[in-house]
């Protein structure tokens, strides 16, 4: 029973990491940047969701509101910050680290602005359905209706995203610009617009991850939530496990990481909560540096 519990907790957490990892992968594919501000964007979207819940009273309205808000904000970041960055900081010794530094700066700006607007105290989003575990044969599982719901929503979103990428012209443009931007441009794809779209999709995915991470925990969140830093690190690690270039890899990486952390916490020590992701990342980088899915050797970007 404990084994099943651990597995189910891991899968739920992992599906949230997977969403975050997808956000990383979408941004990486469109602009070759690891967006360290992703957690800040997810946090901002969660505040959008909070506003929607408290005004309109429904989590199911808040979710799309947060997604749209997150998408618009991410598109804005790409349009302003990323394009300026390409224009100004693409030469000299700073060039290699400029995107990392700029997105970290953005993370700081977002956090400070959020604290200024909403204050530093904990806010709370009430889960739409119960987070009390299912009861089977008199024994209570940790797996709850809420966790089931999260899984279902994540799966639905993944199916939608896959359909977008595989079955539509837009998806074809997204894939073409990721793999061969020059050729895509020659074939008439508006690569710049597609890049912005990639960021917007990432913003939406991050928004869902942020909301679910909040309600899957105790429902509280604040600008300084360690939960969001953890989401940043976990999403990044999941994306790296998956090869940073593959959506399927991101999902597998997220699930793998979620289950691995869950088992470490249950069977080794719950005090390893913060250090476990780092150790798992190091192991992955040493044992299989190209990721589960990736084929290109080495981690040199």
């Amino acid at each position: 029973m404990q084994l099943l519990n651990t597995l189910l907790i891991g899968i739920t957490a992992g599906s949230i990491y997977a969403l975050m990892a997808i956000a990383f992968v979408l941004v990486w594919r469109s602009t070759r940047v690891v967006n360290f501000a992703q957690a800040g964007m997810a946090l901002l979207s969660t505040y959008f969701g909070y506003e929607a819940v408290s005004r309109l009273g429904s989590f199911w309205v808040a979710l799309p509101v947060a997604m749209i808000g997150g998408a618009l904000f991410a598109a804005l970041v790409e349009l302003v910050l990323m394009r300026l960055l390409v224009k100004h900081a693409s030469s000299g010794p700073i060039a290699g680290v400029a995107p990392i530094i700029a997105t970290l700066g953005l993370l700081g700006v977002i956090r400070s602005v959020i604290s200024m607007i909403w204050g530093g105290q904990d806010l709370r989003i009430v889960p739409p359905i119960s987070n009390n575990g299912f009861t089977i044969n008199g024994s209570t599982l940790v797996f709850s209706p809420l966790k089931l719901l999260i899984l279902v929503v994540v799966v639905v979103l993944l199916i939608l995203l896959t359909t977008l990428f595989q079955k539509t012209n837009l998806g074809l443009a997204l894939r073409a610009s990721a793999h061969a931007p020059e050729i895509a441009r020659l074939s008439g794809v508006r690569v710049d617009a597609v890049r912005t779209l990639g960021w917007a999709l990432a913003g939406a995915a991050g928004a869902v991850a942020g909301l679910f991470q909040t309600v899957n925990g105790n429902g509280n969140f604040s600008p300084d939530s360690i939960e969001f830093l953890l989401l940043l690190v976990s999403g990044f690690i999941a994306a790296v496990i998956g090869g940073l270039d593959s959506l399927l890899g991101a999902v597998l990486g997220g699930l793998f990481l979620g289950i691995a952390i869950s088992f470490v916490l249950m069977y080794v020590s719950s005090g390893l909560f913060f250090i476990a992701p780092f150790v798992i990342l190091l192991l992955v980088l040493f044992i299989r540096p190209q990721g589960i899915i990736g084929v290109k050797a080495g981690r040199r970007a």
């Binding site: 940047v33 690891v34 360290f36 910050l81 300026l84 960055l85 100004h88 900081a89 000299g92 010794p93 700073i94 060039a95 290699g96 680290v97 400029a98 995107p99 990392i100 530094i101 700029a102 970290l104 700066g105 953005l106 993370l107 700081g108 700006v109 956090r111 400070s112 602005v113 604290s115 200024m116 204050g119 530093g120 360690i226 830093l229 953890l230 940043l232 690190v233 990044f236 690690i237 790296v240 005090g271 909560f273 913060f274 250090i275 476990a276 992701p277 780092f278 990342l281 190091l282 980088l285 040493f286 540096p289 080495g298 981690r299 040199r300 970007a301």
Partner: protein
């Protein structure tokens, strides 16, 4: 090997700097002395980032954690074994350097965003380990007391002034060492590896080993900065080394100019001045408490973005490039006149 006069070791210059600081510390009030000590700590920490990122081309978001390693090493020795203070600082350097060499061994296989993400995970993970071992004092942390200033310095000599002296001396020594390391064969091999790794390998440089070495040296310097930081606040605890510390150091390094060691003082002064400037601005605007408390963070991050966008290689380097361009244009027009 060719050695120009400019690359000499500059010992007299650093001694002169020390003498100036010595007299300066007599004229300013306590708060300024304390800020002076903070600036000295930041100078050391930022120079470790410049060495690593500017010269060796590796990004670390985990230098806050390495500072914590140094600080804890010094404090444990002080509290548990009552080791002389100077040896505590040496131990801080060594402990952080060992940690850095392990991290560097992993880092040498990574680059760019992968390295940044890995060190970020470390920065978040490592401080929480302090709660796992009782010798490290958990959330409260450990006291780190360097003791009273020697009586020989007189009754008037305050504790903060003593901190400032220690930190300033350490800063002078480390700046001098970093400068000379960067101008040595090691520094050149780091720059070569950053510029073009394949070319550096062809020239016979073992780039992997040189990266690990850069990480080790940088970590040792960060460890010293960590122990000094712990000295100025009197304790070592996980909350003294938050993620924002690592980000601040990066901001300082970018403000200084990522390859301009001489610029560290700009970065350090700005970092120490920002809270005070923010305070004045918030007062002027009569803003609410939540704005006041978050303004420094906003300014640090905002400056980071603006600098990367508009002065990407630092103010000093920017000025130098503009001057060189101007001179080149000047020389060009002269040449044209002759025709």
């Amino acid at each position: 090997m060719h050695k120009s006069k400019k690359e000499s070791t500059h010992i007299p210059l650093f001694i002169l700097g020390g003498v100036v600081l010595y007299f300066l510390s007599g004229f300013v009030d306590e708060l300024r002395v304390y800020q002076g000590a903070s600036i000295a700590v930041y100078v050391i920490a930022i120079s470790s980032i410049i060495l690593l990122t500017g010269y060796s081309g590796q990004v670390s978001l985990g230098h806050g954690a390495l500072m914590a390693v140094g600080a804890y090493a010094a404090a444990v020795l002080r509290v548990e074994f009552n080791v002389p203070i100077i040896l505590c600082f040496v131990a801080a350097v060594l402990a952080a350097a060992v940690g850095g060499s392990l991290l560097g061994a992993a880092a040498a296989r990574l680059s760019g965003p992968y390295l940044a993400g890995t060190t970020l995970a470390l920065a978040i993970g490592l401080p929480s380990l302090a709660n796992q071992f009782s010798i490290l004092g958990g959330e409260q942390g450990l006291a780190f007391d360097v003791g009273f200033p020697p009586l020989a310095l007189g009754e008037e000599f305050t504790q903060y002034k003593w901190f400032f002296w220690i930190a300033a001396l350490a800063a002078l020594i480390s700046m001098w060492s970093v400068r000379n390391i960067l101008n040595s064969a090691y520094g050149r091999s780091w720059r070569a590896g950053r510029g073009n790794e394949v070319a550096a390998q062809l020239a016979g440089i073992n780039t992997a080993r040189s990266k690990v070495l850069a990480f080790t040296v940088s970590a040792g310097i960060a460890g010293l900065a960590g122990a000094l930081l712990a000295m100025t606040i009197g304790t070592v605890s996980p909350s003294a080394f938050p993620l924002t510390l690592s980000f601040s150091l990066l901001t300082g390094a970018v403000l200084a100019g990522i390859t301009t060691l001489g610029g560290v003082i700009i970065g350090a002064v700005v970092l120490v001045a920002i809270p005070e400037i923010a305070d004045v601005v918030a007062h002027r605007l009569g803003s609410s408490e939540s704005v006041t408390t978050n303004l420094p963070g906003l300014i640090v991050s905002g400056l980071l973005i603006l600098t990367v966008l508009f002065v990407p290689n630092g103010p000093v380097e920017q000025h130098r490039a503009r001057k060189a361009k101007h001179e080149a244009a000047h020389a060009g027009s002269k040449k044209n006149d002759k025709h």
